[in-house]
């Protein structure tokens, strides 16, 4: 991120969206809306004085709504570019018409409430789509109780809990009572491999759940973890060894069986009901927290973007690329890489990114004829 941010030949347009694309010969003319932050990017140095005094509060989307942030905020601490943004939906100045604390406190004069979105016109030779993923909202799977049972959380919420910069400083204080969760269940295929939701396999959940379980043990030697799974699809380089190490050195227990129901138990402890297909028995397990490995989907808006770029996508919004030329979309000059064209792990995403860069470079340098 930092490398991209400081590269002399990379111009970052964060907080921006594509609104239009026209083809001109072999080139593209893009209309980009650079949304206003109400903060001058050239002036702000993210000192944080405004944040400390801002009275407005909003759910922190980066922290998966596990805590509140201020109405003026830095999306996350390592974010690039490091500049503040005012969330006008929650800013008291914008909603009630008075406040202006941030403008008063900023001695650099970076705050500008009148700042408008900018519409930029970009002429480019190639476009690379790398819009990544969002996660499936498990609320509709009511048998898992997400949204009702406080200590049932998603994998991404867990990532924030176990993260040092997250809402609990990296400790597994569970949402209901702040007690340290020592007995955690990880439920696989929540929305994935599910004909009613995402029929495909999200590919990364088995491994990240195992990683999560190992992190829990590293943070707390008393922690015990249970991974409820069907096929454990750990096919990447070194993954089988990792799976084995988790069981042997980190006490991770693998239980083969889809979870049927999660029940709100005593003291906020979720009770997991499942069929252990190895023992051929229906069993239950009282846990202190449950982490749902929710399906990964194309980013919200991926279908809209595909329509705008006139590139083919499947019903979920994954961009379709021909298998012989997997970095190319259905439109010449538009390329794709990473999760936007299907589930993949980091090394695959990186390889695909290089592939898309190659195809774009070949276009920019013009095909010389083999």
């Amino acid at each position: 991120m930092l490398d991209a941010g400081r590269h002399p030949r990379v111009e970052l347009l964060a907080y921006s969206e594509i609104e239009g694309l026209k083809r001109k010969g072999g080139k593209f003319s893009l209309k980009v809306r650079k949304r206003t932050r109400y903060v001058d990017e050239e002036i702000c140095n993210a000192c944080g004085d405004c944040v400390s005094k801002c009275p407005g509060k909003a759910p922190d989307a980066f922290d998966m709504d596990l805590r509140k942030r201020k109405a003026i905020y830095l999306y996350f601490s390592q974010g690039i570019p490091a500049v503040m943004t005012i969330d006008s939906d929650h800013c008291i100045y914008f909603t009630k018409g008075k406040c202006g604390v941030c403008k008063k406190i900023c001695d650099k004069g970076a705050i500008d409430y009148e700042m408008k979105d900018k519409i930029l016109a970009l002429d480019v030779d190639a476009v690379i789509v790398a819009t990544g993923l969002d996660i499936f909202d498990p609320t509709a799977l009511t048998h898992y109780g997400f949204g009702k049972i406080q200590n049932v959380i998603t994998g991404l919420q867990y990532e924030r809990l176990i993260n040092a910069t997250g809402p609990t400083g990296g400790h597994l204080h569970r949402p209901s009572d702040g007690k340290l969760a020592k007995k955690v269940a990880y439920v696989q295929c929540v929305g994935s491999r599910d004909l009613n939701n995402c029929a495909y396999c999200s590919s990364v959940c088995c491994m990240y759940s195992i990683k999560d379980a190992m992190l829990a043990r590293e943070h707390d030697p008393e922690s015990v973890s249970y991974v409820f799974h069907t096929d454990l699809r750990n096919v990447g380089k070194g993954f089988q060894k990792y799976e084995k190490r988790a069981a042997e050195e980190y006490g991770v227990q693998y239980i083969r069986g889809r979870v049927a129901e999660i029940e709100d138990g005593p003291n906020g402890n979720p009770i997991v009901w499942y069929e252990d297909t190895r023992k051929r028995k229906v069993e239950s397990l009282e846990t202190e927290m449950v982490v749902l490995a929710t399906a990964a989907m194309p980013s919200r808006g991926a279908l809209g973007l595909a329509k705008l770029l006139r590139i083919k996508a499947d019903k979920y919004g994954f961009i379709l690329c021909p298998p012989e030329q997997p970095a190319d979309t259905s439109v010449a000059g538009i390329f794709a890489c990473g999760f936007c064209k299907g589930p993949c792990d980091i090394p695959e995403a990186v390889s695909q990114a290089s592939a898309a860069a190659e195809r774009a470079a070949a276009r920019i340098y013009e095909e010389v004829g083999v």
Partner: protein
């Protein structure tokens, strides 16, 4: 969090120390504040700061600012590993006008917090020791400039399978010359033995023929069939490679390794006889020809993989088996049963192919990890993990799903190219997550199943990616190399040639001077390994950035506890 140490130094340079918490990766297992306080009392240290993440934009800004504000002459960052973050911190120094080689990296994560998670106190003490040593060395660091070398605009691609051909075609399309070396008599690699490919849904032969035809027509690609690489000399930008079929060696700026993998032959297992018990690859051959029509087909997964001696999952076997099971149902109308441990149908298309197989009537039986099936006299006995009892399945054809294993030539190539292999014998990339197509050695790239088992589409993606990585050097025609090289003081050299003989990179040559023969380092080729320096009995060789002075100071500091 910042703490001023001594206001000024007596003689030495002004040193700033940055102690990174790495979230809780470091600060979770040692007392970072104590370590930072300790650092502020070290000789020449005039500035100390503790950061949550020194590598974040805020952390980097801190470093730049501190260099300017405090006129720092050396920067020590105690954090993670130089493998991933040294360039970042060096760049921060450079941005603030400090020579990047005035930067010293102290690893208190991999070398300390992560390995001493059980003992916070000891980890804290060790971090202090490491920083004291780093600070001592930093005082003796010298400024250096990067070495610039030229890049021959030609690529050498080793391996003419789908990965090698794809990478070659792409580089040729970009206007670069390519020499493609293939061991076999024909191009095409493993794919030539395959019958049908999906999700392309076409005969593999058609696909291979198309690619081979395009490679053959490409005037910038020189194909060397029935050829093997026998010697590699040189370095990024200027490799000199001997190939069996050529009298003169090939010169190339970069090398792409696309040597593929082999299918394990399950000798002695499940009655393997290449007739009634065959590998999945042999089945591809049977499916391509008319004739065979077995009534019952049984496939066994994980034959020779995910076991004690070969722990890894070969990634593509389940999918190959499922693809073939569907074809058998269509073509031979046989009953097909697939015995598996986990069905590795990751992603969209693989999962949907699994559904197709079920719709086509393929039967799946899950067997337990610790109870592999038995095959004898035309019957397979398998414990169904779901039913908990044994099933007996008659077969006319038994198909064994054996893994891809590293090619036999990997070891020799690894030695010649000086790139590492992983514990199984596949090539080991520079970083498993973030640099999957690079090696730690600049100028050599890897793609396809030489790196790890991969499907066809994944091989194509990696081949395009490797071409991209290679083209960054070929396009600019220049390469920047670390100036961490050996330096030979001519007056002290007697021209004995010991260093020339021992240098593993061929980076030292003997030159004729007025004072007789003398050794000289070829800077671009030198990797700074230090073999020559350690060998020279005349003490004529200095390792830049790791001079005796610097290392002695560091070692002394190790034993100089207050």
């Amino acid at each position: 969090m910042s703490k001023q140490g001594r206001k000024d130094t007596v003689n030495g340079p002004r040193i700033g120390v940055f102690v990174c918490n790495c979230g809780t990766n470091i600060a979770g297992f040692l007392d970072a504040k104590t370590v930072a306080d300790y650092a502020s009392g070290l000789p020449n240290v005039i500035f100390v700061r503790e950061n949550l993440y020194s590598c974040s934009e805020a952390g980097i800004n801190d470093i730049r600012q501190a260099i300017t504000d405090n006129k720092l002459e050396r920067v020590v960052v105690a954090a993670c590993t130089p493998r991933t973050h040294e360039p970042t911190f060096r760049a921060a120094c450079e941005d603030a006008g400090l020579n990047p080689y005035y930067f010293e990296f102290v690893n208190i994560r991999e070398h300390c917090s992560w390995v001493h998670k059980e003992d916070r106190e000891a980890a804290t003490e060790k971090a202090k020791d490491l920083i004291r040593m780093g600070v001592a060395r930093a005082a003796y660091l010298e400024p250096m400039e990067p070495i610039i070398g030229d890049v021959t605009k030609r690529a050498l691609v080793i391996g003419g399978g789908i990965s090698g051909m794809t990478a070659s075609l792409e580089l040729a399309r970009r206007g670069f010359e390519v020499v493609l070396v293939e061991k076999q008599k024909q191009l095409g690699g493993l794919l030539r033995a395959v019958n049908w490919i999906y999700p392309h849904e076409k005969p593999a032969a058609e696909y291979v023929k198309g690619l081979v035809g395009r490679v053959g027509k490409a005037r910038r690609i020189k194909v060397l069939k029935s050829s093997e690489v026998t010697e590699v000399k040189g370095y990024i930008g200027n490799y000199i490679v001997s190939v069996t079929s050529l009298k003169e060696p090939v010169t190339a700026g970069i090398i792409i390794l696309a040597t593929g993998a082999e299918v394990l032959v399950p000798e002695g297992q499940y009655g393997f006889d290449s007739k009634r018990a065959v590998t999945q690859l042999q089945l591809e051959g049977l499916l391509a020809k008319p004739g065979t029509r077995p009534k019952n087909v049984v496939m066994i997964g994980c034959v020779g993989s995910r076991m004690r001696d070969r722990l890894y999952c070969s990634r593509i076997c389940c999918m190959t088996a499922i693809k073939n099971a569907i074809l058998i149902r269509k073509k031979w109308k046989s009953d097909v049963t697939m015995l598996y441990r986990d069905l590795m149908c990751y992603g969209i298309k693989n999962e949907s192919l699994l559904m197709d197989a079920k719709e086509a009537g393929v039967r799946f039986v899950n067997y337990p990890d610790d109870a592999p099936p038995l095959a004898e006299k035309g019957e397979v006995k398998v414990t169904s993990a779901i039913l908990g009892r044994e099933m007996v399945l008659p077969y006319d054809l038994l198909v064994l799903e054996t893994p891809l294993v590293p090619a036999g030539t990997n070891e020799a190539l690894s030695r010649m190219l000086k790139v590492p292999l992983d514990e199984y014998g596949f090539f080991l990339e520079a970083h498993v997550k973030l640099r999957p197509l690079d090696f730690a050695t600049d100028g050599i790239f890897v793609c396809g199943t030489a790196r790890w088992p991969a499907g066809i589409q994944e091989c194509i993606e990696q081949a395009l990616g490797a071409a991209s990585r290679a083209s960054t050097f070929l396009e600019s025609g220049r390469v920047k190399v670390e100036p961490i090289v050996s330096f030979i003081t001519e007056e002290d050299c007697r021209g004995c040639g010991l260093c020339v003989a021992l240098c593993p990179y061929g980076a030292i040559e003997l030159i004729e001077t007025e004072a007789g023969e003398k050794a000289r380092t070829i800077d671009v080729a030198c990797k700074g390994c230090g073999t020559c320096g350690a060998t020279c009995y005349r003490g004529a060789i200095t390792m830049k950035h790791y001079s005796d002075e610097q290392l002695t100071a560091q070692i002394r500091a190790a034993f100089e506890k207050e």
